[in-house]
Amino acid sequence: MKKILTLASLIFCLGCNQNPRKPIESYKKDSLHIDKYIESGNRDSLMILVNSLSVDSLKLQLIFDISYKYYLKSDSIQFRFWNSFSNEIAEKYSDSSKIAESHWDLGNFYNKYSVPDSAYYYFNNAYNEYKRIGDEFFSARMMLNMAVVQEKVKDYSGSEVSAFKSLPIFQVLQKHKQLYITYNLLGIDYNGMDDPVNSLKYHNLALKEAEQLKDSVLASITLNNIGVMLQDNKKYRSSIQYFKNALEYDSLLFKKPDSYANAVDNMAYSYFKLGESPRIFLHLSRKAYKIRDSISNRSGKIMSDIHFGEYSVRDGDTTAAISYFKRALRDSRITKNNSHLTEALSQLGELGLDSSNYYLQEYIHLEDSLAREERKIRNKLARIRFETDNYIQVTEKLTKQRLYILIIGVILTAGFILAYFYRVQKAKNRELVFEREQQLANEKIYDALLKQQAKLEQGRQEERSRISAELHDGILGKLFGTRMNLGFLFMDNKNADPYMKDLQEIEKEIREISHNLLDSLNKPNEPFFHVIKDYLSDIGKSTHIQIEFRKENELDMEVFTSNDQIHIFRLIQEAVQNIIKHANAENILVALSESESFLIVKIQDDGIGFDLKQNSDGIGIRNMKTRIAKLHGEIFFNSSKKGTEVLLKIPLERQCL
């Protein structure tokens, strides 16, 4: 059995219209003008007033107030204009709270004009905005508004979910008004879901809140709602009690006459359903009708007509019934109230008239299309919710994604930079390693050169030794023997004397030659000097610089190991290279000498000289310094515009072994 909830679902959109607004008295001096302009719809003047305000927040406030006034006046065109303007300006000032408020107002507007999907959509926008700026209370209020819209489209479970979303916040913040509305709504939702137990539970909670608020109107509305719920569950007698209690608040008649009339009519209907006291029913229902008529409560009057019709049917007065139902039908078509419409159609259909079929068909048709509509809207709301959720999810995902991408990007960039530096370092290292290897190879070559020279020399010496020995041991001996024997033979022959003497001379000469051969052994230093001489002559040939090489006669390089000799050679080479590269010289002198147990090497040129005070040494000079240190010696530079002199002082004795 479908329920007529119209009377019960008087949901006070208390929250909807109440905003913590500053009264328009803020613009005291202009307030009269403002009202006048609003009345006349003089947009331009209002605009001028708005622009005349210098403070942004006041400007925005004025725009909101204007739009609210038009809302109250139900001037949809003006409201739409000022509301969209308020949204535009709020966006301009990036005032998130006001942006949300503009959505809120628009939601209210659509709610008022029964466009539930748009209302829901804008409430949802406002909810998201409030949530974004962290305003829990207002976002909860928007959620509540959405719950209200859902209830309106009979999405009871959806409404329940939304209501429960907002409930905790109201509980924490102890917002009793909102708690009342929420509990009230939940009571209605559970009634719609055929859960009388929970419905009663939440209505009682709402009653408690009403008592907290000391609001008798709210309390009586709740009692009325409980009564309706009981009535729906056919608990007519208990429902009457509740209706009576609701009516006990006498100020209800003045404060909310439509609620008063509802309660009265409901009570009447319960009596009707009980089948008792028709007179009480008639009395009450007529009373209700009078009140409704006086306040032009069309919707209420339709209910009254339907009830009268039902009564007439019971009474057997079909004609009256038909006329009541038809009136109800007509009025509900005018007011476009579908639930009343379906009720009227259903009643007419059940009358069993000729036209009943027609009514029944329309009823079925209407029911179906209503059901379809409701489903469509429920889906739409769900979609809006889902899309929003989805949108939020996607946004979150994107934000997270963007963060990940950023992090990865940074890491990658860092990685690339590191890799680049690593490569550069590696290349440098390789270069250095290569240089060192080259150096080592060079040193090996020179070592081999020196050794080769030494071997050559040694070979020569050995040759000489051999020849010397042969001359001395072999030939001399034989010659002497022969001379002596000949001498004895010719002892008495004076003519032989000069020849004997000659032979003796020859012997002497051979001996001297033999000695001289050995003598020239005293030159063990040739290889080193050979290498230097060859190198210098090569340089001289290739660069056309005059190079002179001097060495002290008795210089003995034997004290130096071949490694050290290489170092000395390299030092000379380095110095000569420097001269060729930088000095622009014509003459170079390389002189080796010995002085007080030091080997002195002098490399002199007549070039342009260089700056001795240079703080950082070039690689060449650094190498030289390293080498001279290895030899435990010292290096001195002397330079002027006329030339440069490099002096190496190397100790002959290796005391630091």
């Binding site: 001399l476 023997g481 022969t482 050995l518 005293n522 210089l555 003995d556 034997e558 147990s597």
Partner: protein, 221 residues
Amino acid sequence: MKAILIDDHPLIINAYRQALLKTAEDRNTHFDIKVKKDLEEAASLFKKNSELIQNTEIIFLDISLPLGKSKEFLSGEDLGIKIRKENPQIKIFVSTSLNDNFRMHSILRSIDPDGFVIKNDLTPAELIQAIEIVLDNPPYYSQSVLQLLRKQISSDQILDDLDRRLLYELSIGTRMKDIPDVLPLSIAGVEKRKRNLKIIFNVEDQGDSGLIRVAREKGFI
């Protein structure tokens, strides 16, 4: 009279023979000559109960003799030393073709020969004369030896054995790094001695060859 000739050159042996013949003629005697041609044969002279060495008047000794199989004597000098020690009465006549002041000095000191001739100095007449003098009134030194002795006596520098040997090694071209193997000196020690010698000989600013030159002049090598 008995004479022993120790030399590896047959020509020289023959020369000695002729000289001894002439000498014998002049003295109306006869030389009983025994020849040994290397150190090993010479070693047999010193075998126990060897009759060879008894009654020998004179031994002609060549310093540079080839070694035999047994290395009992390493040089003619060693042989000479042994002869002098065991049979001091025998006259030792050293002849050598060495013209090395150092060696000559060494031989004079170690063997103290009765006759010391440098082969190059000799003529047949001088040889005969030398033998005569060695037999009757030793010593006989040939010209070169006399010159050496003169230099040595006139020089007032005192060099010890090690100095002489060092100078000798240097003169024959032994490398600095090899000298410690031959002499009981470190390289530093060698340097020090060289420096001292240069100071002694007044050749401080000259290199090694200057030192050797002076040492040669002075007859040390």
